[in-house]
Symmetry: D2
Subunit: 339 residues, 4 copies
Amino acid sequence: MNNRFWILMLAIISLPHVLRAQDTAAHVVKYQATMNAVKYVYGAAKPVARIAPGDILDTNTIDCFGGAITKPSDTLAMAKGDNPLTGPFYVEGAEPGDTIAIDFLELTVNGPQGVGALAPGFGAINPTNYTPMLNSPLPERIWLYPIHQKEDTATFEAHDSKFSVDIPMHPFIGCIGVAPAGGEARSSIVPAEFGGNMDAPEASVGNTLYLPVNVPGGLLFIGDGHAAMGDGEVAGSAIEVPLHVRLRVTVIKGQKIDWPRFENQNEIMAAGIYRPVDDALRIAFTELVGWIHSDYGLSDLDAYELLSKVAKIHLTEMVDPNYVVIAKIDKKYLPPRKH
Amino acid sequence: MNNRFWILMLAIISLPHVLRAQDTAAHVVKYQATMNAVKYVYGAAKPVARIAPGDILDTNTIDCFGGAITKPSDTLAMAKGDNPLTGPFYVEGAEPGDTIAIDFLELTVNGPQGVGALAPGFGAINPTNYTPMLNSPLPERIWLYPIHQKEDTATFEAHDSKFSVDIPMHPFIGCIGVAPAGGEARSSIVPAEFGGNMDAPEASVGNTLYLPVNVPGGLLFIGDGHAAMGDGEVAGSAIEVPLHVRLRVTVIKGQKIDWPRFENQNEIMAAGIYRPVDDALRIAFTELVGWIHSDYGLSDLDAYELLSKVAKIHLTEMVDPNYVVIAKIDKKYLPPRKH
Amino acid sequence: MNNRFWILMLAIISLPHVLRAQDTAAHVVKYQATMNAVKYVYGAAKPVARIAPGDILDTNTIDCFGGAITKPSDTLAMAKGDNPLTGPFYVEGAEPGDTIAIDFLELTVNGPQGVGALAPGFGAINPTNYTPMLNSPLPERIWLYPIHQKEDTATFEAHDSKFSVDIPMHPFIGCIGVAPAGGEARSSIVPAEFGGNMDAPEASVGNTLYLPVNVPGGLLFIGDGHAAMGDGEVAGSAIEVPLHVRLRVTVIKGQKIDWPRFENQNEIMAAGIYRPVDDALRIAFTELVGWIHSDYGLSDLDAYELLSKVAKIHLTEMVDPNYVVIAKIDKKYLPPRKH
Amino acid sequence: MNNRFWILMLAIISLPHVLRAQDTAAHVVKYQATMNAVKYVYGAAKPVARIAPGDILDTNTIDCFGGAITKPSDTLAMAKGDNPLTGPFYVEGAEPGDTIAIDFLELTVNGPQGVGALAPGFGAINPTNYTPMLNSPLPERIWLYPIHQKEDTATFEAHDSKFSVDIPMHPFIGCIGVAPAGGEARSSIVPAEFGGNMDAPEASVGNTLYLPVNVPGGLLFIGDGHAAMGDGEVAGSAIEVPLHVRLRVTVIKGQKIDWPRFENQNEIMAAGIYRPVDDALRIAFTELVGWIHSDYGLSDLDAYELLSKVAKIHLTEMVDPNYVVIAKIDKKYLPPRKH
């Protein structure tokens, strides 16, 4: 996908329910993340910067291994922690009960190679900490993916045979979330109501992410950049990369949501994040039925029936401690938005 | 989607590993299904017709309600049974341990309207027979969908507000399966190793379905035509229609598969069919890893890693007694096929 | 447990709602099972004998390996099929919509040793056909358990260290079921609505099992005797033995049940049989709430609340294609039975 | 169960691997909990008291509703938060990588009545936040349970019919846990690796609980006393009571465990805490196999086989955000402990 096209599109769209500053006029908050200042939990922490609604945040993320894996001979034990997070960013005016809207303006891979890894105890079809088995674990493995910025690709190179293939890049942010409700603090490998390690390719240029605000300022964290990822992230990693990130944060006052949501010009999308996948799906679809009912005016039963005919399901990952299902409907199937 | 385009494409493709008769020269077996001859289980039964490998089967399916629902005032109690099946068809030369390949040549909606229904005890976000709850059931509801053949659409009309919208048609066969292994006979509402009620939009023109042969002749059954369906079929029904069906059946001697598979020009696709969705996904991906390994030569671990970067997941339904996940990879990411 | 004590108790009890012939006067139907006549599916089949309500059936079961495993050097490949079933027995007067009640009068281990086996692809904490993983399978293993009839024990002997220990016997029938509804035929390794491979230690002397009747005569099958088993049957086998079996079958006319139930002097017990365990539990408890409501007169919500305070849960197995949860309540916590 | 018997038994037992001060000589740390000082997350917080290994902690817990429900007309909205926690207690000498052992010496119901509640969105067979459905919720309901200290019972009184019955008390602590690893802070309604809302009747007099230490001092929290509870806690509550609590805390230096464990004179017990129940069971049994292997010397496969013959499973709750399975084996089936 051509990012410039989407940036142009974004300049043209004006989603009706949110006031946004003009891109050209927007204040830009710059913050340079380093391993010295990263966090490993979503929760209360001293903000690294403050953003006013409509500001553009220009920052970067370090890869999920803390940049520790650079050669074929490196091992996962060299990573100091999983998913180091840039932030938190304090969003001025965001109060519990509000929603913050994040527009992904630009995501660029920030280095010459990505990393894929088979980590014993992590993956959808090998035993894990939460689906343990007595069998011998799969061996640890590292794959390096050369990044080709011009071609917009990363290259998979097989270990056990002579084969390589280019994969188109679709840069997105694997970890994006806020401080959880109720005084909780959650690990950077966990996705849940507060967002977090959703590994959702929807967290990319052209889309808006909505997150519930649970504490004053919201406290936004980002990390775990991906150059590309398959549905389910089944072996436990994407093409893991550092990212340069430009995004805009807006506050929707007085609108409470229970789970993360995405939106773009064409679709509304509700995330359900739990285990098993069955329950993640149930959360996503009850949220989407509720969204259609409240914003588009269909009755719950009409919305349910319509989704049975036209919904899309994206199972983003089944490898983190919670699983993520995103239920979607194309807006062309909906009545005009009520407000 | 324009069916003629795909028919043309099919004439051009020649998947290398299966011998197929020329379409033009093919023998056509015609069979007219009626409610007098339908079956409600996949299992041993007197064949209604015999097909030679390469023959074209020209037949029809009755809708999942046995055609009983025609007016808004009709009730689900009027349906005599769920998913009446056309068949079985005996495929000459198919023996246990073989695989049958089914090319979907033409699927046409065979009537003026489709039916959607909310059946208490059926659905992804209401209690069911297998996820029962103490709450009052949702009310039974029927939606009728006028079919517009020229426009290739069916129309959703809301019950509780003035709203209607056209949905593009994508006709496919919800139920397609063979007699199960081990002398089992399974209800027409169940999908499993033998195929069955997979509710897979992949069972449509342009694709090939592979099913394991468990008994002499395979004994192919089809039914439950859909004009269109959302991922997950969440409220329990698609746009339910009778279909006119043309498909071609081929036998792949000596190739044993454990679960249904799909293929088209661009993709190989492995189905996993069980509960919870987690396990359906595990089945689909272990099958797909095995398929890539045996036919394309990547090691299991390389295949696993590659899928983590480029796989697609289609959760076709989460409402039948077993759930269906189809794991896919684009062939452009694979080495040349070995055989 | 001393079987004679229970036989005595049974002679004393007379559950009020079922007419039973006096044990002393009862007609005894004898049937000797052999491998030549066993079945491997629950479904329509020519009855091997007919039983009138109140008759005592005196028969035997062959072990789950068909008696093929007798020495340490034997392998699972030597078993011709899993869970050979004795039967079916046609119960006179049993019609669809009725319930049959089975009193277990006497179960005796019918041989000098039992067998335990680790079968790759079977078990709760190793990959299986329905929870597959890429890891190397566990190795196949056979343990033999000498039976000591006088001491009422079987001996576990460790393979990898010098250790042995005696396990008290609790003989029960792992497989007991009837022909399924809707013309289905199900494998002898599957438990479901029709009973089947429930691996429930509740299927033992002192208890009554209720099964729904789906076809005329019910068609009762039994097999898969166990000398003892742990909750969950986690490694995939119990102490597998042939049994001598004496049981009495009664018909409860016009009483329809949806899932198997057990009862003894002290408890009523509802079985839920599906996947995941969560759903098996939901089935068991909604059944038990319904039973309490209809037979003991508590409202659904009072029954639900009371169960939250005093219920017992028995997870009998989590290794077969469906899992089994039995929800129980002691009758001392219930109002007098209404009928 | 007579608590004095167990206190006596505890005086007699001396589990060989842990040094414990003599009960008679033990220092007693007294702490009076009030709603002013309760916590609602397991995590870093200023200790309310410090305990030396071997000390006896004499304290109390407030009921899960914060004592807000006292009359039939009270509503759940009156509770300020769920499961207010007493603590944290700093255990001297406990360092990350150690284990703390908690002996339950005395638990006494601390008030004249208990409370049961049906809270919409909480329960095993009604929709919840994590298994949501579109159906109307069950109504909120409160049941009050008069406590009879002399008879050691609490009385269930039906709402919808004239029926009451006495339930024997088995007082235990529903919430007991330490600060989680990795800087997380978890809600008092969640059980997980750190213990927490396990709702395990095993947390009672006569048993020892082992918890992993993740931060200096461990930071022990307790709350959510129960007078009695059914397996599964299916409707979402036990007989909820305030408790007077006496327990002794010991530190086992250098012994790391991954999940909570229980032990008494007769049994070792491993807890698995996650969703679905299938995975909770897998965790519990892999932990128990590992425990048997390391402390009793059986090989993993021998331990697995033996558990398949003699294990006990206790599903304590299926209503909290994670579910709890405790896998047990009687020590009489094990070789002598190695150390």
